[in-house]
């Protein structure tokens, strides 16, 4: 049972690191939107040649 003196602090350290990782992810805004990422995953990218088209180019520099 003496192993408890090692395992318990270890478990606490592990929990603290998990909590810190969660806090970091939260502060970065990873849990702000729980809806779109699920949808985004469904749309895999297709690599085609990109081309730009601005239908109303500014007539004069502003």
């Amino acid at each position: 049972m003496t192993v408890l003196f090692v395992v318990l602090p270890l478990a606490v350290v592990l929990s603290i690191s998990a909590a810190l990782a969660f806090a970091w992810a939260t502060r970065r805004g990873q849990f702000d939107d729980l809806e779109t990422p699920a949808v985004r995953l469904l749309c895999d990218d297709i690599n085609e040649r990109p081309r730009s088209l601005d239908p109303h180019p500014p007539r004069s520099p502003s």
Partner: protein, 822 residues
């Protein structure tokens, strides 16, 4: 090209079933006959859709059309507003909306018309469409797009133009104003996560202690010490939310659920810490840690739903017309609407909303002010007439001289009165908080009683039993019952198309009272439809062909009633604002319009058409005469039809004990006719000014709660004065701002659903409160009998929470749709 014709008729949604060859390749709306090209592979309803289609394919994003699982809604069809969005490049705009992160600039835009998953895919490919955009990330729940771009390579206006062409007109969001709320939500989530981690570990240690695995003194001391160490941050970091709330409740002397929670947590923690340090006695660390975690879950769900509703309102606020097209010596340029100087000239094109109050200088047109005044018919305007911001130009391009802009408009003054009325409204004390007030007193009295009684029986155990009572009765289930039931109900309501701005309106809506309805667009369709046609049916096709290209509501009603005339083509169509229309169809001269308009040519007829027009006017119905080659052949009358679901829904509400009232700005005789169709009402009044509606609501509130249902700005003041305001779909942005509840589906049926759902939710909340009180009663009895142990407390508390959570989440509050026997 007539984009307004194809993309804004309500019938368009019904015509989705037309064959592919005749529906627009971009938006799926039917293609008007006039623009069907025979050789083209794809057809488009308007030039804007064609441009959007070309843009999407040009950027190699054609897969959008295969991915989408829903067609754009009426407002989502590509409608190139033709705006230059030049004001986005203005330094004052940048200062307000653009933030900087390193070399990149960030801009958040609300997008109108986001309707399916393919929209996410398409919009997030923005960097391919506009070079210089680094990334675009859409928040589907809020319809907000976060754009990161290189300011040196691309201007904000170019981004906005590209989005508008794709069919998602952008509106700038004031993301900086919401930054504080977002940070608060994240902070709560961090607390929730930390509380979860701590509770899990403390529970494991408690398990070892309960099972007797750590009988030896050093191990027991280790586990108890570690529990204390882990519970301390749970109480003072994670639980600070409740401690602060309790402090505020004490200072303001208002009962609040945080107060009994904090008393239980602090008493339990203090005693357990004392017992740990002295190495004897019972500890409740596991119960406390789990309690804090569960309560935080409830609190977080509550906050999240509040933010979702807030986001929807931000979106609506951003839709108000923000720019004015200024005309001066240098040409036309867009300026922020509030910066338009008095006396300047502003141009407003067809189907655009007026950004300012002003006087018409040039152009004759019809102005649709249903939004502002509730008048269902557009008003004809000519040079010299006064027009107001927020109304829509329906006829032709107008040139206006600015009289008032920004806060000086009639619209702004109306909104101001809404705000002041809102602040006057007394806050609704929530049911759970009222219970909490009594709860605190009862629990403290019981704890004191236990302490006194046990000090006679067994003085050393008296304090233990009293503290155990405080811990066991700590209202975890009670604290979760309301937030969980409310958030589950709000989620179900949102799925049904009903959005509540806050949970307290569920409670207010469940009480029977007076339901005051606006007429136009709420009980009626908000558009004209043909109600009678007398005369020669043979002219129908000719009329339809002549009116096909016009945007006038009467023309739209005629075309909708008679159907398209594919074989006939109208020539030399001329509209005379306020009078009617002249055209040549198949060699005949067709005149459709007022008495004066038709009499101008000839009045020969076998019909008593003058009498028919007068009879329609008597009923408050607009009517037109149809003349073919100078002879009047038919008379058509129109009205704004009552929604098909309205009579049954009102009857159902009446049976639930609500009194129905009808308040309208429309002509009294039209209101009387509508009221007659809808069954008994306590009052049906027409010709009311916004101020009179507000006064009526304030008077009615003396006799009981008043719910105002409307959709126009003219209702906004009345809505703010009411106990609960419901805005039905199709309504004005500002009324949604004043509304507590709003629906995305038109009609009164949703009002009925909201009322029924609110009642069911309140029943669920009451059930949850009774459940948790029953569990607490068991706990109290055990404590007073001195038979409680930490293990029993640790079992009883989550068990009661589980019952309440299950009951709250499984309750069918807003779905399925209410049946008549419900």
């Amino acid at each position: 090209m007539t984009p307004e014709l194809s993309s804004s008729t309500p019938e368009a949604t019904l015509k989705r079933a037309v064959p592919d060859s005749l529906s627009c390749a971009h938006c799926g709306l039917p293609v008007p006959d006039a623009v069907v090209g025979s050789a083209a592979e794809r057809h488009f309803c308007c030039s804007a859709c064609e441009l959007a289609h070309e843009l999407i394919h040009g950027a190699g994003l054609g897969a959008y059309y295969e991915r989408r699982d829903a067609l754009p809604t009426r407002s989502g069809a590509a409608r190139d507003t033709g705006g230059s969005y030049r004001e986005y490049d203005d330094p004052s705009f940048r200062a307000r909306h653009v933030t900087h992160a390193g070399a990149d600039a960030r801009l958040e835009l609300f997008l109108a018309g986001i309707h399916c998953t393919a929209c996410v895919w398409l919009v997030e490919r923005l960097p391919r469409v506009v070079p210089g955009v680094r990334s675009a990330s859409l928040d589907l729940g809020r319809s907000a797009l976060d754009v990161t771009f290189d300011e040196a390579r691309v201007l904000p206006s170019a981004i906005a133009r590209a989005l508008a062409v794709l069919g998602y007109p952008p509106h700038p969001s004031l993301v900086t104003q919401r930054e504080g709320e977002r940070r608060a939500e994240r902070a709560l989530l961090v607390r929730l996560g930390v509380a979860g981690a701590l509770a899990g570990n403390v529970m494991l240690m408690a398990l070892a202690l309960y099972s007797g695995a750590a009988e030896d003194a050093p191990y027991a001391a280790l586990l108890r010490g570690a529990s204390l160490l882990l519970t301390a941050p749970a109480v003072f970091f994670c639980g600070s939310v409740f401690l602060r709330g309790a402090g505020a409740a004490l200072r303001t002397r208002t009962p609040h659920m945080d107060l009994p929670i904090s008393i239980g947590i602090l008493a339990g923690f203090a005693q357990s810490a004392h017992h740990t340090l002295f190495g004897r006695g019972e500890i409740y660390f596991d119960t406390l840690a789990v309690l804090i975690f569960l309560l935080l879950v409830g609190r977080w769900l509550q906050q999240r739903h509040h933010r979702a509703a807030q986001g929807a309102l931000d979106l609506i606020a951003a839709l108000a017309p923000a720019t004015a097209r200024l005309v001066d010596g240098e040409g036309r340029r867009d300026v922020p609407a509030q910066a338009a100087p008095v006396g300047a000239l502003v141009e407003v094109r067809v189907d655009e909303r007026l950004p300012i109050d002003g006087i018409v200088v040039a152009g004759r047109s019809s102005i649709d002010s249903a939004w502002l005044t509730g008048e269902s018919l557009p008003e004809e305007v000519k040079p010299g007439d006064r027009v107001y911001a927020g109304t829509t130009n329906r006829g032709q391009t107008l040139l206006l001289r600015v009289e008032g802009a920004g806060t000086a408009t009639r619209l702004a003054r109306l909104l101001e009165s809404v705000e002041s009325a809102q602040t006057r409204r007394a806050p609704i004390v929530r049911l759970a908080d009222r219970v909490a007030g009594v709860f605190v007193i009862v629990v403290l009295a019981l704890a004191a009683g236990t302490l006194v009684a046990w000090s006679f029986i067994e003085p050393t155990r008296a304090l233990d039993h009293a503290v155990a009572l405080l811990v066991v009765t700590c209202p975890c289930a009670l604290g979760m019952a309301t937030p969980l039931a409310v958030s589950a109900a709000l989620k179900r309501a949102a799925r049904a198309g009903i959005f509540f701005k806050g949970g307290e309106f569920l409670e207010a809506l469940a009480r029977p009272g007076t339901l005051a309805f606006d007429k136009t667009g709420t009980l009626t369709e908000g558009r004209l439809a043909l109600v009678s046609f007398e005369g020669d049916p043979g002219v129908k096709a000719l009329v339809s062909a002549a009116e096909n290209g016009s945007g006038h509501p009467i023309a739209r009603a005629l075309v909708a009633a008679f159907g398209p005339a594919p074989n006939l083509r109208a020539e030399s169509v001329r509209e005379e604002p306020g009078r009617g229309l002249v055209a040549r169809v198949a060699g005949h001269e067709i005149r459709v319009g007022s008495r004066a308009h038709v009499e101008g040519s000839s009045a020969a007829s076998t019909l008593p058409w003058r009498e028919a027009l007068a009879a329609a006017a008597e009923l408050g119905r607009p009517a037109v005469a149809v003349a073919v080659d100078g002879a009047v052949r038919a008379v058509a009358a129109f009205s704004d039809p009552v929604r098909s679901d309205a009579p049954a829904s009102l009857e159902s509400l009446r049976r639930r004990g609500y009194a129905i009232a009808l308040l309208s700005g429309d002509q009294p005789r039209v209101v009387d006719a509508v009221a007659a169709e809808l069954g008994p009402m306590v009052e049906a009044r027409g010709g009311l000014l916004p101020e009179e509606k507000q006064a009526w609501v304030e008077r009615a509130r003396r006799d009981g709660p008043v719910v105002m249902v409307g959709d126009g700005v003219n209702d906004a003041a009345a809505m703010a004065a009411a106990d609960v305001a419901i805005a039905v779909h199709g309504g004005a942005e500002a009324s949604l701002g004043a509304a507590d509840v709003f629906t995305t589906v038109p009609g009164v049926g949703k009002v009925l659903e909201a009322v029924v759902g609110a009642r069911r939710t309140l029943a669920v909340i009451r059930r949850g409160i009774w459940f948790s009180l029953a569990y607490n009663a068991i706990g109290v009895v055990l404590c007073m009998a001195g038979r409680i142990s930490p293990l029993l407390a640790a079992l009883l508390m989550p068990l009661s929470s589980l019952t309440v959570v299950t009951s709250a989440l499984r309750a069918r509050t807003f779905d399925p749709p209410p049946r008549e026997d419900a």
